[in-house]
């Protein structure tokens, strides 16, 4: 296999295992298969899958920050909102193609994250958390005060027009489906490559002990900054998909596009799936999707359940579902780390 051999009395450093090769290949296959879903599945199923895709993106981005950078953000909804509103601005105000607008809005989300990172990344733990929230609130208020009719101020806005003048509702559904699946695949791959690179190693060092990492020459702020910008762009991408999916957005309130409820969902997904594991957020997104489909969706008890389960996982099962499985069975399906394995003589 592709194992990096380091002959130390039968111990090897291994990145790929046969299982992870099969699984990573399998996952790529699943993505290709899912791309054909609009040809087979009905309208409802496609809508449901779009919902699952943006949840997966959100969970991946939040996990990248908290699980790999040790950065608990409660302000990613700021980037979700920026993404959605940037897409509205480009497509409604400037008559750009809505899907091109979504792509550009994702990049705008990443660009906005750069100055924000310069302000908040100096802060530790709780101070970082609340500062990101303040930034998100400031974005929301600024958008709600925008007098531009395309933005709509506090009453919200709709992106129905730019979609409808170009596409039939059926085309819109298909393209939105492919755009969101593409976003999941690209962001998944981007994180996979990032975390397997040198940066992945230094990020884990930062998460485990920031001072020690810095003293060994790890560029702490650069590593965190890269994560923050990627998470900003990814969250903005999720925001654009939400816009294309529900077609109208509101700027203010906990349930709005800038709402704190998105962070509640992100924390739930990552804690349930497994903080700091690559696979965990996908499992967490599926778990939230199941909760939304079969439990109360929206409403008071949904969020009470969401918060309660998140607290329970944080206290009782902090590694989440996938972290626990990983620990017990020593498996890693998507190989982002290094493993030491003892080989008995004669095995390869």
């Amino acid at each position: 296999m592709n194992a990096i051999a380091a002959d130390m009395s039968g111990t090897r450093v291994q990145r790929w295992t046969p299982l992870s090769v099969v699984f990573t290949g399998g996952l790529a296959g699943v993505v290709v298969l899912l791309a054909f879903a609009p040809l087979v599945l009905g309208e409802n199923s496609q809508n449901n899958l779009i919902q699952l895709y943006f949840l997966v993106i959100m969970a991946m981005m939040w996990n990248a920050l908290a699980g790999y950078g040790g950065l608990v953000s409660v302000g990613q909804q700021g980037f979700i909102g920026i993404g959605a509103y940037a897409a509205v601005f480009l497509s409604v105000q400037n008559s750009l193609n809505p899907y091109l607008s979504m792509l550009l809005a994702t990049l705008i989300g990443g660009a906005v994250a750069i100055p924000v990172a310069a302000v908040v990344l100096w802060l530790r733990a709780g101070a970082f958390a609340i500062a990101t929230w303040v930034v998100a609130e400031a974005f929301a208020i600024l958008v709600s005060l925008d007098p531009n009719p395309a933005i709509g101020g506090g009453t919200g806005t709709s992106a129905l027009l730019p979609f409808n003048i170009r596409y039939t509702p059926e085309q819109r559904l298909h393209y939105t489906y492919w755009a969101s699946l593409g976003a999941v695949a690209v962001l998944l791959l981007l994180l996979f490559v990032l975390l397997r690179s040198r940066l992945g190693g230094s990020l884990q060092a930062i998460r485990d002990d920031e001072e020690a990492a810095a003293s060994l020459g790890v560029r702490v702020l650069l590593g965190k900054g890269i994560l923050f910008v990627v998470a900003g762009a990814g969250s903005a991408a999720a925001g654009t998909i939400i816009l294309a999916w529900q077609l109208s957005v509101l700027p203010l309130g906990p349930d709005s596009i800038f709402g704190i409820n998105w962070t509640a969902k992100m924390i739930f997904m990552v804690l349930v799936g497994g903080l700091g594991t690559f696979e965990g957020p996908i499992i967490g997104a599926v778990a939230l999707y199941i909760l939304q489909t079969y439990g109360p969706n929206g409403g008071v008890w949904y969020f009470v359940l969401l918060g309660g389960i998140a607290i329970a996982f944080a206290l009782v099962l902090p590694q989440g579902i996938w972290g626990t499985i990983q620990e017990r069975f020593n498996v890693q399906l998507l190989p982002v780390g290094y493993r030491l394995r003892n080989f008995t003589k004669g095995t390869t």
């Binding site: 958390a129 906990p254 509640a264 804690l271 969401l306 918060g307 998140a310």
Partner: protein, 294 residues
């Protein structure tokens, strides 16, 4: 003259924020955690006072008699059941659990009290004010709030300095492990700190509720304002908290004078500006030390 009035009202408004910030600063000082549910706990205090005034028909001030001891107990239990476990699990877990609590509280309040706004009656003092000049009136209630904040911060300062509990709190804040070596039960000290913090939060929530109307999601803003006051005032100083609260209040009142919609935004902007300034100063200090060494 309207600007003078805005500044004066901002200073008085700072009293509420200092009240809100006290408990947050205390918990951060002793345990190094930021309780994201702090604003929500303040809000529970306001709703409990509302229940008492509604059903027992007592004044809001009398409602503090059952609400504050209740908050002490809630804080103690919160520490013993949830926060203690969170603290053991590292720096990030308390953030996750207190955020979960924030979401649970906001939605339970919405279930029990409806999403509508409520307000608390501030009594006879609510309508009384001192007419300084034609454009400047000072409401006595705002003066009372600021006075309560000063008394609370002063009292806490005295407790920290001169009582056994205060010495234990300071020792544990300095170094919990060493404090344990000299016979302090750090877990009990933490529980008392959280109890006091939640009681001050409830007090702040009641005053906030008398000042302006509140809904189940108001806890988020109360947390942000409290935290902004702590940071602007300088983390780790109780009187700084009062200064930070006043600075935040003035920023909001002056912003609101320019345009009522800028009220909250101008507070956020001043907070972020303070962060940037502090970062820039740190970076400069860092460069200066480097030059000194090289």
């Amino acid at each position: 003259m309207t600007w003078v009035s805005a500044v004066v009202h901002g200073i008085l408004l700072g009293g509420v924020y200092a009240l809100l910030a006290t408990g947050l600063a205390l918990m951060f000082g002793v345990m190094r955690i930021i309780n994201l549910a702090h604003g929500s706990l303040a809000l529970i205090g306001a709703y409990m006072a509302f229940l008492f005034t509604e059903h027992v028909h007592v004044s809001t001030y009398l409602a503090l008699v059952p609400v504050l001891p209740g908050a002490l107990i809630v804080g103690y239990l919160l520490q013993r059941t949830m926060l203690e476990r969170s603290l053991r699990a590292g720096q990030l877990v308390p953030l996750l659990t207190t955020f979960g609590l924030l979401i649970v509280i906001a939605n339970l309040l919405q279930y029990f009290f409806s999403p509508d706004v409520h307000s608390l009656d501030e009594g006879n003092i609510g309508t009384a004010s001192w007419q300084v000049s034609s454009s400047l009136t000072i409401p006595w209630f705002d003066v009372l709030t600021l006075g309560v904040a000063v008394v609370l911060l002063g009292g806490l300062q005295l407790v920290l300095r001169f009582t056994q509990l205060g010495r234990e709190l300071r020792a544990t804040a300095e170094d919990a492990d060493t404090a344990e070596l000299v016979g302090i039960n750090a877990r009990a000290v933490y529980a008392r700190a959280t109890a006091i913090a939640v009681a001050t939060a409830a007090l702040a929530g009641v005053f906030y509720g008398m000042r302006s109307s509140f809904d189940p999601n108001a806890g988020a803003n109360q947390l942000l304002y409290a935290f902004e006051a702590v940071v602007i005032g300088g983390i780790g100083s109780l009187w700084g908290t009062l200064g930070g609260g006043i600075a935040l209040g003035v920023a909001q009142a002056v912003g609101g004078q320019i345009n009522p919609e800028y009220f909250a935004l101008s507070g956020h902007v001043v907070f972020l500006a303070v962060l940037v300034a502090r970062t820039a100063m740190q970076a400069r200090g860092f460069r200066l030390t480097l030059r000194g060494v090289g």
